[in-house]
């Protein structure tokens, strides 16, 4: 019941906003729908804490410790982004970059995107997972090109083709899983695509088929995670789309794609009886981290800078899950949570900073503390948090990843440390003059909504100091799924 509400509200909201999205109060409606989804998800979380994991609709949908916190995180960031986007889009409209029709498209697609991600997270059926991931791509393509500038159309086309091809490969992987499973679980029925059923018989699946399937699934969904060398679409899509879209792409979509890979990895681990899937994740993760940090140096655009930082952090998470084991998986799950909160907060602050300066180029953004102190502080604190400064939560998860790496794969530790140091120098060196320094830039026409930034950062800070019992219990149970 709660699952139906969580998925149904944004879906209905998308239809409603498709009709009324150009009205003056559309932004408030968007916030209200997101709030309703948040409340439904809160009810779901309460029920899971009380009754434990559950499934619904003939096992087509399910909630277990692995996806429950991601659902909560997704609706929370979805809500705060809706709050942020209200004044942000109003300022964009005031600057003449958007018209009513575009705003209608934006609001409607925003809710559709949320619905697609929530279906992907809660479905038990690998086929639906694929359909939902594709729907999430389709609903954001037109958002990336919302401004209809040359650069934004180019970015959206790249996003569409690369992710379309990637996700087609993931479909081939899904078909192969079905091939392997239908002998065990009976053909023509849905059973052979249900994750819980696959998980139960994973030890008996044909290893050759599952091995090949996992390669396709990893490359396919990995394109959406932004793993190097398949990350080309990511910086462009983040830089050229409207900032709320960058925030949800970075904070939520990448997580959901990684979630899809991890679900498949659990099956592959069980079928292959070897460390191969883990090694592949470690390889892709490390490559993405290093690749992204060295490209950080060459960035001139603030949103591209933080997009590359997202690739770096997705790499760290992928590496952590690749190492496996209870501590590293715990660290990976924690990192998913804190990165999502911190990165969306940074995009909120960066969005208002670019609006105030009238440019996304970093040398044009100066002296935020003087003109917009809250934007300046938000950007500075967010940057410190994402760079892994204690006491923020990112420090805790990165510390756990590094210590596990030191114990189990010592060769990887110096690579990770160098990457983190390079990222620190590159990002801090660029953010510092943007926040301090002098400027003559005028103030914004509407007061920016900085409450979401500070809510996110407060949560990240709280997670760095102590993790609530229910959350750490979920992390631990989910980590058990990975260790089998």
């Amino acid at each position: 019941m709660e699952i139906a509400l969580v998925v149904g509200i944004p879906l209905l909201g998308a239809a409603l906003l498709a009709l009324a999205g150009a009205q003056r109060r559309a932004a408030e409606l968007n916030v209200a729908i997101s709030l309703a989804t948040l409340l439904a998800a809160a009810a779901l979380v309460v029920r899971v804490i009380r009754d434990g994991p559950l499934s619904a609709f003939g096992e087509q949908f399910f909630i277990d410790p692995f996806n429950v916190f991601l659902v909560a995180l997704t609706v929370l960031v979805g809500f705060t982004t809706a709050v942020f986007s209200r004044p942000y889009m109003r300022i964009e409209a005031a600057h003449g970059r958007l018209t009513g029709g575009r705003l209608r498209l934006y609001h409607s697609m925003y809710q559709l995107f949320m619905a697609a991600m929530l279906v992907a997270l809660t479905t038990n059926n690998l086929g639906f997972l694929w359909v939902a991931m594709e729907a999430a791509t389709l609903s954001t393509v037109l958002l990336v090109s919302l401004y209809r500038t040359r650069a934004s159309i180019e970015a959206a086309w790249k996003y569409f083709i690369l992710c379309g091809v990637g996700i087609a490969l993931a479909l081939f992987g899904t078909i192969l899983v079905y091939v392997a499973a239908e002998g065990r679980l009976g053909g023509s029925g849905m059973s052979a695509l249900l994750w819980t059923h696959l998980d139960a018989v994973k030890g008996q699946l044909e290893p050759t088929v599952i091995g090949l399937a996992f390669v396709f699934l990893l490359v396919g969904y990995g394109t959406k995670v932004g793993l190097a060398p398949l990350h080309n679409w990511l910086p462009d899509a983040h830089a050229e789309g409207p900032t709320p879209v960058s925030a949800v792409l970075s904070g939520l979509l990448l997580n959901v794609a990684l979630y899809a890979i991890l679900r498949c990895k659990i099956i592959a681990d069980g079928a292959l009886h070897s460390a191969l899937p883990g090694r592949m994740l470690m390889g892709f993760g490390l490559l993405s981290t290093v690749w992204a940090t060295f490209f950080l140096w060459r960035q001139r655009d603030i949103k591209r800078l933080f997009a590359y930082s997202s690739i770096e952090h997705m790499g760290i998470m992928t590496f952590a899950f690749g190492m496996g084991g209870p501590v590293a998986s715990f660290a990976g799950l924690l990192h998913m949570t804190v990165h999502s909160l911190t990165k969306s907060a940074i995009f909120f602050a960066a969005g208002h900073a670019t609006q105030a300066a009238g440019t996304q180029r970093m040398e044009g953004i100066r002296g935020l503390l003087a003109t917009h102190p809250s934007v300046g502080w938000g950007l500075m604190l967010g940057t410190l948090a994402i760079l892994g400064m204690p006491p923020f939560g990112v420090f805790a998860s990165e510390y756990l990843v590094l210590t596990t790496a030191m114990r189990e794969h010592p060769w990887a530790t110096p690579i990770l440390l160098v990457a983190l140091a390079v990222a620190f120098a590159a990002i801090f060196g660029r953010v510092q003059p943007m926040v301090f320094g002098d400027t003559q830039a005028p103030r914004l026409p509407h007061p920016p909504a900085l409450l979401p930034v500070f809510i996110h950062l407060a949560l990240v800070l709280a997670l760095g100091i102590s993790i609530p019992a229910a959350l750490s219990q979920w992390y631990r149970l989910a980590a058990q799924l990975f260790t089998g």
Binding site: N125, G127, F128, W130, V131, E134, A135, L138, V141, L142, S145, R148, T149, R150, A151, I153, E154, A155, A156, W157, K158, F160, I161, G164, V165, A168, L169, L171, F172, I175, L176, Y178, V179, E182, G183, G187, S188, G189, M190, L193, E206, T208, V209, L212, N232, P235, D236, E240, F295, R298, Q299, R300
Partner: protein
């Protein structure tokens, strides 16, 4: 291995035809003819799905065949042809460099696909699974086409050919995915083509051409 039945032989012939059409697409310069080839791929898919439905007694594959007929032989080509007329690119020729090299790379991909599928076909319980190699080859050839072409319209055709390969893999190796999932996939493809259509107009409005050379200004720095 038992001697292949007549139905299996027909199915393998159809698989061969699908692969041949993929090669033809790789070398085809005229957009109009590419759509025709895409329709032919659809026809082959419908026939093979019907064949599997009859021989394997899978009634839900009849629906799947009907859906394919409607979508891949009917609606999608109609949308594409309409788009071509609206955009005035019916007579467009795309200069293709190095067709022989492209063909050689394509051949290499086919060998690679068969190599990848070999361990699975060796385990095959049904003769039907042996077409997996061809399905994978069709997918890789479509990928090659997307990479090699520089026109937005042709890339979309490559994208649809890719989807055809996936569909062929699903029907011939597993008697098709469950119906609900297949409907979901069909819906995604249809919406995808609509968005592509919208995009063509945006691209042309901004760049005055559908040539993707203009879309190479965003670089990795």
């Amino acid at each position: 291995m038992p001697a292949p039945t007549f139905a299996t032989q027909v199915l393998q012939t159809l698989a061969g035809a699908l692969l041949l059409i993929s090669f033809a697409m790789l070398a085809e310069r005229r957009s109009r003819r590419l759509v025709t080839l895409l329709i032919w791929q659809g026809v082959v898919l419908v026939t093979s799905t019907l064949l599997v439905a009859v021989t394997a007694q899978q009634p839900h594959l009849f629906f799947s065949a009907a859906l394919t007929l409607a979508l891949k032989v009917g609606v999608l080509p109609w949308i594409l042809l309409r788009l071509m007329r609206r955009l005035g690119i019916e007579r467009d020729n795309e200069p293709l460099v190095n067709v022989p090299t492209l063909m050689l790379v394509g051949l290499g991909l086919v060998v690679f696909a068969f190599g990848l599928a070999q361990p699975i076909t060796a385990l095959a319980t049904t003769v039907i699974r042996q077409t997996l190699g061809i399905a994978l080859a069709v997918i890789l050839l479509a990928l090659l086409m997307i990479l090699a072409r520089r026109k937005a319209f042709t890339q979309v055709i490559g994208f649809l050919a890719l989807e055809n390969g996936l569909f062929f893999a699903a029907t011939t190796t597993t008697y098709g995915m469950p119906m609900v999932v297949e409907l979901g996939i069909a819906l995604d493809v249809l919406v995808g083509v609509f968005i592509f259509g919208v995009f063509f107009f945006h691209i042309r409005e901004q760049f005055d051409s559908l040539d993707l050379h203009h879309l190479e200004t965003l670089k990795e720095d």
